[in-house]
Amino acid sequence: MSGMVVKVRVFGILCNYTPGRAERHELEVAPGTTAGQVLELLGIPWEEVWLLSVDNRQVDESRSLNAGDELLVFPPVAGGRAGNGVTG
C-alpha cells in the first residue's frame, strides 16, 4: 500500500516536542491516518493541544487526513500568550 504526504504546522510552545523544534513538517503516512496519529508520530502530547484545524476548520483527533492536507496544531491561548501556565 503506497503512502501519502501530509503537511503539519505546529505552533508556539508545542514546537518543543517536534524534531528540531520545527514549525513545518511533511510526513509520509498511510492512507486513513488520523490527526491524532500524526500527533503521536511527532511526539506531541494530546493534553497540551488546544485545537486542530484542517482547511481552516476545526477537526478532532479522529479526523482521517487526505493526501495534501495541512494539519494545524495549536497550543492553548490566553491573553496574548500561547502556551500553558496559570499566569498566561
Partner: protein, 625 residues
C-alpha cells in the same frame, strides 16, 4: 524596609510647582504592595469624589511594585493610574520595559501628581533629586522627538522617559503613556490625564541598586527561568503575542469587522508567523527578560514604517487589522506606528475606527462626514489616515477621539448598538462568545472592558499545565470555554484576584511563574513571610478598592453589562449559532458578587472590607451597609 520597596513616594503638586516625599511605612506596603492597589489607595484618599478626570483635581499616579527591578524575568513593569477620562471609573494602564526599574533606582516606588501646571512641563527625577522643567518647546512633537530632546536636555542618554504624545496633549480620551517609545501603558486614557495637567513627560535615572532581602534566593529563581526559557516560553520568543492570532481565528474568536464575525479570511496575512517571516527586523525585550517577545518591524514604500516604535502586539494586529477587515500587514504596522508616535491606545483606536466603518456601511456616517474618505471595512489606507485624524482631532477624528461611547451618543440611537465598549472603554481583542467567563470578566471589570485581569477560559478547557498549577488553589477539573456555571464563576474569581495581584506587584503575566514561585520572589525581594494566601488577598483588596472607587463615583450594577452584540449568535464561522446567554451572564454576575462577599447589588459589605483590612474606608463611603 528589608528590601523590595524604597519606602519613598514622590508627590508633585503641579499647580504650585512643588515636590515632597512621603514615607508611608512598611505596613502600608505590606497591605497595598504597589501598582493598582497603591494607585487606588491614593485616589480614594486624595481625589475628591466627582473630580473631572481631565481637571486639576484628578490625581495621577505612576507606580512600580515591591518586586519591580529584581534580577528575574517579568520584573520590568510599572503602572499609571487615575480617574479615567474614558470611563469616569478607576483607570490604569501598564507598560513593560525599564521605566519602573529606573524609578526605583532613582529612589522612589511611585510618583503622585496633583493639580495642573500653568504651562507645559516635564518632571526629571535623578537619584532622589527632582526638577520640574519647561516643556513648552516639546509640546506638539512626536514621542520619538520628545524622547531625544529630553535625553539631550538632561544630559543622560540612559534616562528613561514616560510621556504622553500629541494625542494626550489634545485630550484624546484613549491617549496612552509611551515608555521608551516601545512600551505603552495603553488603556484608560492616562495620556489624556497627563495632557490635561500640562505634564508631557516623566524622565527618570538612578544609580542605586534595588534593595533585596535575600538576593541569592531571587537570583536562583531568575537563573532557573533563564535556563528553561526555550522550553517554557519558546512560542513567545518565536512569534510574540501575535502568535495567538491564527489559533483564535480557527476557534472563531478573532474579532472581525467590529465584532460582527469571529473569523477573518485574511488572518494568515496578518498572523504572527507572517509578521516574523516578512517585516520583523529585531526582537526587543524588557528588563532582565530573556524571552524577547517584543516585535520590531520596518517597511519600505509606501508606508515606511519606522522601527523606532517597535512593532505590533496581537491586540494591535487584531484591532487595526481584522477588526477593521484589513489584511494589509504593512498598513496595520503603519497604523500601529502612528499610534506610538502620537500616543494613542491601539485597542481603542482600532475599535473607534471599526465603529466608524460600520456606521459608514449603514449610512450613519457619509462621505460628507469623512471628507470623502472611503471608510469601508478592508481599507487599510483609511485606517492609517483615521489614526492621524484622531490624534490631531481633525474632522471625524475629533468625534472618534472621544471614544465610541460618546461618539455613538452624539450620532444617535442607530449608532449606539454598534459601539463596542463597556463603561466607555473599548473592548479588547478577545471574544466573549468564545470565552464566556471572559465575558463575565468584561462586565464586572473595574476599568471597563479589559483582558489583562480577566479569565481566558480556553487555557482551562483541558487538562494541562495551567490546570495543574491551579490545583494549588483547589481547582481540579477543566471547564468548557462556553461554560458559565457556578464552577466557572469560582474559577473567574480566583483568576481575577490572582491577575489583579500581578497588577499590584507589578509583574508580567507572560512569565510562567507558578503561585509558589511568585511568593518566593516576593519573599526574596522584601523579606516578608509572604504566602500565596497573602498575594491572593492583595489582589482581592485591589478588586475591592477599585470597586469602592467606582461606587463612590456613582457606578452601580447596571454598569456591569455586556454589549448586546455578544448576546447575538454568530451567523457564520466556527462559532456559528453561538452567543452568550443574557440570563446566564446575569446569574454569573450575581454569583460573582456573592462569592466576593458583596451584596446582590454588587456593593462590598462592611464585613468584607474589614476582612480585607480596609475598615478605614467604611466611614467615608455612605453606600456601605
Amino acid at each position: 524596609m528589608n528590601g523590595g520597596c524604597t519606602g519613598k513616594i514622590l508627590k508633585v503638586n503641579l499647580t504650585e510647582g512643588t515636590t515632597s516625599v512621603e514615607s508611608p511605612g512598611e505596613q502600608f506596603y505590606r497591605l497595598y504592595y504597589g501598582g493598582r492597589s497603591l494607585i487606588a489607595y491614593y485616589l480614594l484618599r486624595e481625589m475628591k469624589a466627582g473630580a473631572d478626570p481631565l481637571g486639576p483635581q484628578n490625581v495621577l499616579v505612576f507606580a512600580a511594585g515591591p518586586i519591580t527591578g529584581g534580577p528575574f524575568a517579568g520584573s520590568g513593569r510599572s503602572s499609571v493610574g487615575a480617574r479615567s477620562p474614558l470611563t469616569g471609573a478607576y483607570g490604569d494602564g501598564e507598560a513593560g520595559g525599564y521605566w519602573g526599574v529606573e524609578l526605583k533606582r532613582a529612589g522612589f516606588d511611585a510618583v503622585v501628581f496633583s493639580g495642573r501646571a500653568e504651562k507645559p512641563v516635564y518632571l526629571w527625577v535623578h537619584d532622589g533629586a527632582t526638577e520640574i522643567r519647561d516643556a513648552s518647546e516639546l509640546w506638539g512633537l512626536k514621542t520619538a522627538e520628545v524622547e531625544e530632546a529630553i535625553k539631550a536636555q538632561v544630559g543622560e542618554k540612559q534616562a528613561r522617559v514616560a510621556q504622553c504624545g500629541p494625542g494626550g496633549e489634545r485630550l484624546v480620551r484613549y491617549a496612552c503613556v509611551a515608555h521608551d517609545l516601545t512600551h505603552f501603558a495603553g488603556r484608560g486614557g492616562m495620556g489624556a490625564v497627563m495632557g490635561s495637567k500640562n505634564l508631557r513627560a516623566v524622565a527618570v535615572r538612578g544609580s542605586q541598586p534595588v534593595p533585596m532581602a535575600d538576593p541569592d534566593a531571587v537570583r536562583e529563581l531568575g537563573r532557573w527561568f533563564v535556563q528553561r526559557v526555550q522550553e517554557l516560553s519558546g512560542g513567545m520568543q518565536d512569534t510574540g503575542t501575535p502568535g495567538v492570532l491564527l489559533g483564535l481565528n480557527v476557534a472563531g474568536g478573532l474579532p472581525t469587522r467590529n465584532f460582527r464575525q469571529g473569523h477573518f479570511e485574511g488572518a494568515d496575512k496578518i498572523s504572527g508567523p507572517t509578521l516574523r517571516d516578512t517585516l520583523l527586523i529585531e526582537r526587543e525585550t524588557c528588563y532582565a527578560c530573556p524571552i524577547r517577545c517584543k516585535r520590531v518591524v520596518k517597511t519600505g514604500a509606501p508606508y515606511h514604517v519606522d522601527p523606532v516604535y517597535g512593532g505590533p502586539e496581537y491586540e494591535s494586529l487584531a484591532s487595526l487589522g481584522s477588526l477593521c477587515g484589513v489584511d494589509d500587514l504593512e498598513a496595520v504596522c503603519k497604523a500601529n506606528e502612528l499610534c506610538g508616535a502620537f500616543g494613542l491606545d491601539t485597542i481603542s483606536a482600532g475599535v473607534a475606527i471599526a465603529f466608524a466603518m460600520e456606521c459608514y456601511e449603514e449610512g450613519i456616517l457619509t462621505p460628507a462626514h469623512t471628507g470623502g474618505l472611503e471608510l469601508s471595512f478592508g481599507n487599510g489606507e483609511a485606517v492609517v489616515e483615521m489614526v492621524r485624524r484622531i490624534a490631531h482631532r481633525e474632522g471625524l477624528g475629533d468625534l472618534l477621539a472621544e471614544g465610541v461611547k460618546r461618539a455613538s451618543e452624539r450620532l444617535g440611537a442607530g449608532a449606539r448598538r454598534l459601539a463596542m465598549h463597556i463603561k466607555g472603554q473599548e473592548i479588547p481583542m478577545h471574544e466573549p462568545r468564545l470565552k464566556h467567563g471572559l465575558g463575565l470578566g468584561y462586565a464586572v471589570s473595574p476599568t471597563g472592558a479589559d483582558h489583562c485581569h480577566n479569565l481566558h477560559d480556553t487555557a482551562y478547557a483541558k487538562p494541562g499545565k495551567s490546570l495543574q498549577d491551579l490545583a494549588a488553589l483547589g481547582i481540579l477539573e477543566p471547564l468548557a470555554a462556553q461554560d458559565l456555571s457556578l464552577d466557572k464563576v469560582r474559577l473567574y474569581t480566583y483568576i481575577t484576584n490572582w491577575r489583579t495581584f500581578a497588577n499590584c506587584s507589578v509583574h508580567c503575566l507572560f512569565i510562567p511563574w507558578d503561585f509558589e514561585q511568585t511568593a518566593q520572589l516576593v519573599r526574596g525581594m522584601t523579606g516578608w513571610n509572604a504566602t500565596v494566601f497573602e498575594l491572593m488577598k492583595v489582589g482581592e483588596r485591589a478588586v475591592n478598592l477599585t470597586r469602592c472607587f467606582n461606587l463612590r463615583e456613582g457606578f452601580n450594577i447596571h454598569d456591569d453589562y455586556l454589549p448586546d452584540r455578544f448576546y447575538q449568535a454568530f451567523e457564520s464561522g466556527p462559532l456559528q449559532g453561538v452567543a452568550v446567554s443574557r440570563a446566564a451572564l446575569e446569574q454569573a454576575r450575581l454569583a460573582f458578587y456573592r462569592m466576593s462577599g458583596w451584596t446582590d447589588d454588587g456593593v462590598p459589605t462592611r464585613e468584607k472590607l474589614h476582612e480585607l483590612g480596609l475598615g478605614w474606608l467604611v466611614p467615608s463611603l455612605d453606600f456601605i451597609a
